[in-house]
């Protein structure tokens, strides 16, 4: 790993210096942190919220990062610290959208059933991966996730889709490991029921 990578990915001395100077009153230097971490935050946020929500949630993440910058301990990399803020901003965005009933709760439709059948009918691994990468699978994923509560959605995405351990997900969300474990199990059962329903209804 080069010096530059360490600085950008692991919050090396240059990040530290910028943070200290921002805290000392050089607010305009915060733009340097935004430039360095906007892709990192954008990727995390895009994995958890709808595409049309990404800009707003990423914006919220950086404003939150600035307002709580004085609590940054310098012991963990800045990238990790800002990731936890991004995930909590995503969770809050879903909670607000869900409270305002902005999350479409329509069941999985005929087109998605047909798509699931096509996915299951593929024999070759390459063809399966090719289909899985297409927009239709993403739509199926979003429709399924929209059926879950904001809490279960976050846990399912982190643990089952991204492969984080229960402990890591608990740290990232600031929840207890027991809570995450229970939710991970329930959310997976819920997802499986949805997928079962989808396959049962297929012609």
């Amino acid at each position: 790993m080069t010096e530059g990578d360490r600085r950008t990915t692991w919050g090396g001395p240059e990040d530290e210096e910028i943070i200290r100077r921002v805290l000392a009153g050089e607010v305009d230097l915060f733009v340097e942190l935004i430039n360095r971490y906007q892709q990192h935050v954008g990727r995390i946020v895009a994995g958890h919220v709808r595409r049309d929500m990404v800009e707003e949630v990423a914006h919220d993440t950086f404003v939150r990062a600035y307002t709580s910058l004085s609590t940054y301990s310098f012991r963990t990399p800045f990238s990790h610290w800002v990731a936890t803020i991004a995930l909590r901003a995503c969770y809050d965005a879903w909670r607000n959208a869900s409270a305002r009933k902005e999350v479409p709760l329509s069941g999985l439709g005929d087109e998605q059933q047909q798509w699931a059948d096509r996915l299951l009918a593929t024999e070759s691994h390459e063809r399966f991966e090719d289909l899985a990468r297409q927009q239709e699978t993403r739509e199926l994923l979003h429709s399924a996730l929209n059926q879950l509560s904001p809490e279960n959605r976050m846990v399912l995405t982190l643990v089952h889709l991204e492969g984080h351990s229960v402990r890591e997900a608990a740290e990232l969300l600031g929840w207890s490991t027991v809570n995450v474990k229970v939710r991970a199990h329930r959310a997976r059962q819920q997802l499986r029921k949805l997928l079962e329903g989808l396959l049962r209804n297929s012609p």
Binding site: V27, H59, V63, Y66, F128, A132, L199, R200
Partner: protein, 100 residues
């Protein structure tokens, strides 16, 4: 017919893959500008929040100092008046004695 476990797992695998290949939209310069505008706003409101208690403490110190000066002056003035009263009493007594 109930779908098999393998079928469900195959769909789950496809969903994981679909999640992994999602690309993040490019965040524009105007987006960065918007974030910085809010950050500066936060910074200035935080400064104001810190300035108000500081100003209040300064004002309170000045008021306490002025109150002490006023109270001190009143007490000093009162003490002078009391001294003058006693002096007058003794003067009057002396005068009365001389008349006798």
């Amino acid at each position: 017919m109930k779908p098999s476990r393998e079928q469900i797992e195959k769909l789950e695998q496809a969903l994981s893959l679909a999640h992994a290949v999602q690309d993040a939209p490019e965040l524009s310069k105007s987006w960065v500008y918007g974030v910085m505008r809010d950050v500066r706003r936060q910074a200035s409101s935080a400064r104001t929040t810190m300035e108000v208690p500081r100003l209040m403490w300064r004002a309170a110190t000045v008021v306490i100092f002025l109150s002490m000066v006023v109270v001190g002056s009143v007490l000093a003035w009162d003490a002078q008046r009391a001294d003058a009263g006693f002096a007058g009493f003794f003067t009057e007594t002396t005068l009365d004695l001389s008349l006798l």
